[in-house]
Symmetry: C2
């Protein structure tokens, strides 16, 4: 894409109330827009990042048999009353609104009740199980405070997946697959090495649930890491009993602040029982369906990555989710050489942001650093017929011909 | 996809209050779920259709330079008060909700105010214009009645595009391009021949706006078609004056019911003036930005297509948006031959729904008709080493080898 065509500009003045680093950088670089506190729009560059994050997640959910659907934001209160979650004392982040006929409805903050209701129409027999379904959809949470930028917002896209199994055994087998899918997601997103599989408190049906916690100074959570085993405990389960059970020792655990980027949870038959989601088993008995839920917030992941991977010049995107792989910056007066490099890279199938604007070299280079594409390509009077290739993360520069460039990145 | 893996089932019992044909068929076939009146979830097959519709639209919006973004559902009331559209007397479909701090906010039913606010940060000079941006996003409309299935719902995804131009001349040039993009969309979606470019009333900045109206018995609108010119007038502009201006004659116009599947509108400087969205021109003067808006509801398009293209056996999808091109139905006891055909078609890059379940031939064939994939492939005792290929739309059947099948559809 030619940057002269991109409508977003680098901004100098930011909303006065913005305190988070992730939102400050993303606002300055024109990736997002702040509608109001805790409510952010994604502008073209930011939406490209979000789509790349979502596509990585989608591919991994498909691998474990997830079927994509799209539930609704407006929620009938009835089934939430059946599970006891309509009350503000149980869920304290409801947004509610009123239909023209006077009926009060809720804006979905999660979708267990909604998807269980869908499954009542489609799950009848043990032969219909297991079922795994997921969506990417806006969730609304009426947070009292929202000071973490896109890491905790009042409105955000969430990938939420739900599993429906015959019994705990079938559920456990899927839960393990989901766990691996989550590990793959964070690995592919470039934060695998700082994201820990973290034990958290479970519920009636399982001693533990699990969180995926990314170590970050701005994290709202505290975790206790066993580096050797590559696992962590959250505060809820940081007890002598659990440590013994997991074979970890207090004096080797390292306490760190972290951001919860995902969680997986055994729901058991709680929702199925409250909502009458049941199946007929081989022996003719009618049993409640055994459920699990699996969440990742792509916006939170994006925010956490900005918090982790930035320097004093700007954002440093990992390859997998950068809006463009290359930022081609033309410093020459004419554009013949740069146009030709742009065409060659596009033909070779690469995503390229091409700064074809007339501006000072200093301004263009500073903007490339702020925007944070992984590889900057500069063409100027000193690069001759070659291209200066700079890795954003390390600052390492080399002169390459276009052919060398393409083969290096193939 | 193997049908044994698809979680949705054909349903016999439908919600008692469902009166529209599109929703009845889509519910029976398991494409959608009814959360409540006017609020529908898209299940895997339905979500595949929606994504195909959206992808066609996306490609055509990109061709005219549209940049995709994603605005927010929660809307700060301030800018809506500035344009006078916060009041229920002006916009009678607001859903409103209250933040934890007591502030009242709205759920977006359209996004002119929101996107103009975004552009205030990014449009400064005439050099920044024109700008075209669009999104696919949930809109909320608090309709008093919702009896048209997915053609008019209280919550629905809309593609809304907005253009920002220097003046009417620059706007008009883009408006014409957008018009062509819309014609391309409906052509590609398979309803070009029954969708009319329809003159509707404009506003202060343009005598006309334009609607794209698809002829349908269940349409809520009435249009007057000039078949020869391929244009129509809606009720608002069905006057002697306009007929003369357009060179059409009353006695050749045909009155028909139609569904509005898209509209394009010249907004002029109304929003820019109310919200202070301005740019500095070449001569140093500061002028309001000239806006246009361009909407298509993919769900309404999908519903209108179901209304138009169905028969007494079920849905008849056009090729471009069918969830799968082929419905491969195995009637043999063993699956050796069918598995092999499935593999060959998948390797050749086709979307195939493969009915690998054990059920009666009658049930499987009836279900294939209801689900409505454009090409049914039957393998059974009477087809030998060939495949019976039936066109859903015409019922025409032929016996093909797999190679013939692939080359026919290449």
């Amino acid at each position: 894409m030619k940057q002269s065509h991109l409508f977003t500009k680098v901004r100098k003045e930011l909303p006065a109330d913005e305190v988070s680093i992730n939102a400050q950088l993303l606002l300055r670089a024109g990736y997002i827009h702040k509608e109001m506190a805790g409510v952010y729009a994604y502008l073209p560059l930011g939406w490209r990042v979000m789509n790349k994050v979502m596509q990585v997640i989608r591919e991994e959910m498909n691998v474990v048999g997830g079927q994509e659907l799209f539930l609704t934001s407006l929620q009938d209160s009835k089934k939430w009353k059946d599970t006891g979650r309509w009350s503000d004392e149980v869920i304290d982040v409801w947004f509610r609104t009123t239909m023209a006929n006077g009926t009060e409805v809720g804006l979905a903050n999660t979708h267990e009740e909604a998807i269980a209701q869908v499954m009542i129409n489609h799950i009848h027999s043990y032969k219909d199980l297991p079922v795994v379904a997921y969506q990417f959809q806006t969730k609304f949470r009426n947070e009292l405070r929202a000071k973490s930028g896109i890491m905790r917002s009042r409105e955000f896209i969430m990938k939420d997946m739900y599993s429906f199994s015959r019994n705990k055994e079938e559920h456990d087998a899927f839960y393990e697959k989901a766990q691996q899918a989550y590990i793959n997601v964070f690995e592919r997103l470039g934060i695998g090495n700082v994201t820990y599989f973290t034990f958290a408190s479970g519920g009636s049906f399982s001693q533990f649930s699990h969180e995926f916690q990314t170590v970050s100074e701005v994290g709202e959570d505290t975790i206790y890491i066993d580096e050797e085993k590559g696992i962590a405990l959250n505060k809820e389960v940081y007890t002598d009993e659990v440590m013994e059970m997991l074979g970890v020792k207090k004096d080797t655990l390292v306490e760190k602040a972290a951001v919860e980027v995902g969680n997986i949870f055994t729901l058991g038959t709680k929702y199925a029982e409250a909502l009458n989601l049941s199946y007929t088993d081989e022996d003719g008995s009618v049993n409640p369906v055994f459920m699990g839920s699996y969440g990742i917030g792509p916006g939170r992941v994006m925010g956490a990555i900005v918090e982790l991977l930035h320097d004093d010049k700007g954002i440093v995107w990992p390859d997998a989710i950068a809006p463009f792989r290359f930022h081609l910056v033309n410093l020459n007066k004419d554009s013949v050489q740069a146009d030709s490099v742009y065409d060659s890279l596009q033909r070779a199938g690469f995503d390229v942001l091409y700064d074809d604007r007339s501006a000072s070299a200093g301004a263009k280079l500073a903007e490339a650093d702020l925007l944070g594409m992984p590889y900057r390509l500069v063409i100027g009077s000193r690069t001759g017929d070659k291209v200066e290739h700079t890795v954003r993360k390390t600052g390492k520069s080399d002169l390459y011909s276009v052919d060398e460039l393409i083969s290096q990145h193939a």
